[in-house]
Symmetry: C2
Subunit: 356 residues, 2 copies
């Protein structure tokens, strides 16, 4: 591997100058924004009642077909909103074929899923909770296998389950006042989506630095940031989520190899049927990246440095030096924010116990 | 079904008298104790560091073989410490054949599991977390199938996983100060056990009534309590946990039928090899009983009234009237305590991300 000590040396000198440090921040401010303290979905009212209902539903396995999975099974809020597995697992343990994306800060993404097949969090819930993730993902390359009959049956079952639970009857009425029949599947989506808007990770060292706290980043992290911007990483990984805002072909300069890009997963092509979208995926957010291994849609590496190296070659056509990779990883470590504090909800009991 | 309105009428008169209401409480105090605000395990120090470590481990799927199950998978603290399924499910969804018992207030039980095969919470962890629950339960009637090779391998894997996570290396050192090699499997058990001693449900209406709050029970609940004691239910279901303190043959007066007592599950016999222990099980706690359906070790009914009727015939040789069953259920509803408030732990990240 070719070393480039001279570039690092130059950067070190550059960063030592206060004026130029400011210009680093100015450059960064043109590309990135800190995670705000709160977020909302346009057109979606977030009352405390709706958030509380959404939180209960997020943790409730009774909306899954076997009563054995909830949103939190894959999007574990103790583990940065993922399952730490290389492939999402759905109903009866079937593997989905793509790595779980984090629910944290997901409200800031342009769309949901690796292929962006739905726009918003509500639509993600409506598609995911009841669907068999394996059925959804197995279709890689071919049509997206939403079996409407299966989905409808399972959604109907979920609605029936919820209607049978007195605590949910009350909670849906309070969350959706004025609706004659509030326990409908779309409202499950609305409630969980507004709860998910609370799952933010503000106050990362990088965000504090963006807001002028010079000491929040170390010198090597600032070097990494400069490399991240100047090498071209930030042309896709930018905005609030340092990614999540656009789509890109994985392997735009050269193929990362079948290990990382399995040929049967055509990515966004399955959604748009546009040949230009073959092997195109949503650019993932790099927020909390140190916590969400394994990496890539294929979950093909647990090593962030390996992932940085692969991205350099596949997306930028550059063989990064070990020193550059180290610095970029140092910077990426500064994207770990304050994890949301979540008190476990106490779920309303099933009404199996018949009152006199 | 034979009705006994006269007994109910007599009880109503009895309970109307303040002096006799006190004697009801005196009788109850001789049989039951309220859930205390805190609990401990003899010989087990519960430092804040050990409790915090135990809490993290309780929620951490990385100590399971596939990284897909934690204590909280079956003992869901949003659902009264159970999974609301008729059979516990272990590794790759294999069903265990017995219903999950709640972790709430489990510290007050004489032993753990339906067959009391281990004495304490620590031993339960050591046996359960790494073992395949299906393998443990499938042996019903025969020898308990602990495959030492499997267990050892899996325990070793768990220990290796924990040792690879820097946050746990620190947390074990803090929880077990002075130990040269604190990440050993027994300490996983110690830590989770002390966390579990915090999972109590005090302040149930019945407990408030025991402590002299007359209004905490309704008149029908007091009638139900009187029936519960006078019919003989309380001869087994007594103490702090209203059960959990002794063993009894299921079907001591007459068989409850194969629906409720599958013939191939010989219960405690598999532990003691004493023929007198055939079909003997630990008397389950009735704390939070309305929240922990389905009922019996076989999870054979979701209807608490049905369970009360079955118990009357099988254990007491009495065909309870519908009115008696209704009153007893009213009383059992008063055993629902304040559920523990648990903030989700943020788990220490895996060390897959190599530092420079």
């Amino acid at each position: 591997m070719k070393k480039r000590p001279s570039m690092i040396a130059v950067l070190l000198m550059v960063l030592a100058s206060p004026a130029l440090a400011n210009s680093l921040r100015d450059q960064a401010k043109g590309l990135f924004q800190p995670i705000p303290e709160s977020a909302s979905i346009p057109g979606e009212t977030a009352t405390p009642e709706k958030v509380a209902l959404g939180k209960a539903l997020y943790f409730d396995p009774r909306i899954s077909n076997n009563h054995d999975m909830s949103c939190s099974t894959c999007h574990n809020l103790s583990m940065a909103g993922i399952d730490a597995r290389s492939s999402a697992a759905g109903h009866i343990g079937q593997l989905g074929g793509r790595k779980t994306l984090s629910v944290l800060n997901a409200v800031f993404n342009i769309s949901q899923y690796w292929d962006g097949r739905v726009a918003g969090l509500k639509e993600h819930v409506v598609n995911s909770v009841m669907a068999n993730p394996a059925a959804m993902f197995k279709s890689r390359g071919g049509p997206i296998m939403f079996n409407p009959a299966d989905l409808n049956a399972t959604r109907q079952r979920a609605v029936e389950q919820l209607k049978s639970i007195p605590g949910y009857v009350t909670a849906f009425k309070q969350a959706f006042p004025g609706e004659a029949d509030p326990i409908v599947y779309d409202n499950v989506g609305h409630a969980i989506a507004v709860f998910e808007t609370t799952l933010l990770t503000p106050d990362a060292p990088f965000d504090r630095w963006l807001k002028s706290d010079d000491a929040a980043l170390s010198d090597t992290q600032k070097e990494g940031l400069a490399l991240f911007m100047n090498k071209g990483c930030a042309s896709c990984h930018n905005g609030v989520n340092i990614g999540g805002g656009s789509y890109a072909r994985f392997g735009v300069m050269q193929s990362p190899g079948e290990e990382h890009l399995p040929p049967d997963d055509l990515g966004r092509f399955a959604v748009t049927k546009d040949v230009a979208d073959k092997y195109v995926f949503k650019v993932p957010s790099l927020r909390n990246i140190e916590l969400v291994a394994p990496y890539f849609h294929s979950g093909s590496t647990w090593d962030l440095k390996k992932a940085i190296a692969v991205m350099g070659e596949a997306q930028l056509g550059q063989k990064l030096t070990q020193a550059e990779i180290d610095r970029i990883q140092d910077f990426l470590m500064s994207l770990t924010g304050k994890q949301p504090e979540v008190a476990l909800p106490i779920l309303p009991p099933s009404a199996y116990v018949a009152r006199p």
